[in-house]
């Protein structure tokens, strides 16, 4: 069974797998995000307090969830790259880091845009926002390290080490900032997800999240194909493909 997985994860077979699922995945992503956006922007009812401005939540919350999801994927890939030394895992980290960076940036920007009309400030130093900012910096550092050496394998493995160091620290950072922030501001900072959110508002959120995950996988596949070609540029199967 492990042999099957290993054969699948070999660069050549993974490349062709990625090519095959690219088109169906593209259509799936477009459809799901389309449905999510439509239901979020038009179908979901207006919020009692916030009016129509709250609808940015349908981009902001999935982006924030995805930023963490991509990081968890990267932790898994980092572990695989360092322990089992699979090349596909190294390629995975290098490809996923910019996507995670973008999602985090989107989450921060949409959060600020939401915050201004709602609570009057662009930025506030509470646990969640500060942790997202730190996550942005960690992604930036990972991208920097992955591209810092001439040998891409060394760069990816260094990025894997940084990912794992960050993984230990992110929960600690989150809780220490939370502890620090509540001392300053008290419980008036509202949290992003109300525990009793109404179903008609929840469904577009879930749809958008699924769409974003599909988008992440799509872009990941495209980027990984590029990296695979770069890694294997002297191999025979690439030559056959290009001729």
């Amino acid at each position: 069974m492990f042999k099957l997985i290993r054969n699948f994860l070999a660069l050549e077979s993974f490349y062709f797998f990625a090519r095959r699922i690219q088109k169906p995945l593209l259509y799936f992503t477009l459809i799901v995000i389309g449905i999510g956006l439509y239901s979020g922007l038009f179908i979901a009812p207006r919020d009692y307090q916030q009016g129509d401005a709250f609808r940015i939540i349908y981009v902001h919350v999935p982006a924030a969830w995805l930023s963490l999801f991509v990081y968890m994927y990267m932790v898994l890939a980092a572990f695989t790259a360092l322990v089992w030394k699979l090349k596909i895992a190294e390629i995975g980290i290098k490809s996923a880091a910019p996507i995670g960076f973008c999602f985090t940036a989107i989450a921060l920007v949409t959060g600020s845009i939401w915050g201004k009309p709602m609570w009057g400030t662009w930025w506030v130093w509470d646990a969640r926002l500060t942790s997202e900012l730190i996550l942005l910096l960690i992604y930036g550092g990972i991208i920097g390290i992955a591209n810092s050496t001439d040998d891409p394998r060394i760069g990816s493995r260094s990025a894997a080490v940084v990912t794992l160091i960050g993984a230990i620290n992110i929960p600690i950072i989150h809780y220490s900032v939370e502890w620090w922030a509540t001392l300053h501001q008290g419980p008036t900072v509202s949290k992003l997800d109300n525990p009793s959110i109404e179903l008609s508002m929840l469904i577009p959120l879930v749809i958008m999240t699924v769409g974003f995950i599909a988008y992440f996988i799509l872009i990941l596949m495209i980027r990984m194909q590029n990296e695979i070609i770069h890694y294997e540029r002297n191999a025979n199967w690439i030559r056959k493909k290009l001729s």
Binding site: I145, I165, W179
Partner: protein, 221 residues
């Protein structure tokens, strides 16, 4: 243990060959304090919270200043190859490097910072508490610095990367350290914060040397 001491002695010899790097951090510390005092205006010394914050900021930033130089010489001169060939356990090397960095750069800053607190007229209780907190925080930062320097030394844009990556990792100790000083200043108890600092240091002590070793092996290919 003997190996640890030999490596520490080796590192300290190299640091003392270029003593000006050590004094660099102290000068930077003084610079930040002076600039903070000037920028905040004549009411700087009245607002004790501001003073505590500035001294903490200055100490932490001065320690971070030379972190990227930790592994610079080793990768440039090829001594990393030497360590691997002699089967030196890279974890012990990382600990030795962190400890010698702390002894040379951070200890001087700790002393100068405590002296600054004395100058500004804070009570000895606060200064003692500050000594223990800043020691723990700088020890933690030396460990983090060794791991990140192993990853980024001598590579393209290494200094910038180190700065970006140090920032997230040192936020928890800095938060709790400053909180401890402020609590003691306000007459409250600060044992919780100290506990966290010790715990965080222990956590990093048990994980970062192995991360540094992995990073060195990765760089050497």
């Amino acid at each position: 243990m003997k190996l640890f001491l030999t490596l520490c002695r080796f590192e300290l010899t190299r640091y003392f060959a270029s003593l000006t790097d050590v004094l660099n951090s102290v000068a930077f510390f003084a610079l930040i304090i002076i600039i903070s005092a000037v920028a905040a205006g004549p009411t700087f010394t009245d607002n004790n919270t501001l003073v505590i914050g500035s001294v903490w900021t200055a100490s932490v930033l001065s320690c971070v200043l030379t972190l990227d130089l930790i592994f610079n010489k080793d990768f440039r001169e090829g001594t990393v190859d030497l360590f691997i060939l002699c089967s030196v356990p890279l974890e012990i090397l990382s600990l030795a490097k962190a400890f010698s960095y702390w002894l040379t750069n951070c200890l001087s800053i700790i002393l100068v910072a405590s002296f600054t607190f004395l100058l500004f007229g804070f009570q000895p209780g606060l200064i003692l508490n500050f000594l223990s907190c800043i020691s723990l925080v700088t020890l933690t930062m030396s460990l983090i610095g060794v791991a990140l320097s192993a990853l980024t030394a001598n590579s393209k844009g290494g200094t910038l990367l180190l700065t970006i990556l140090v920032f997230p990792l040192m936020i928890p100790p800095v938060i709790f350290g400053t909180r401890a000083s402020l609590n003691v200043y306000n007459g409250l108890d600060s044992s919780n914060e100290l506990l966290f600092l010790v715990g965080f240091f222990m956590l990093l002590l048990s994980t970062l040397p192995w991360a540094s070793a992995a990073a060195i092996k990765t760089r050497i290919h």
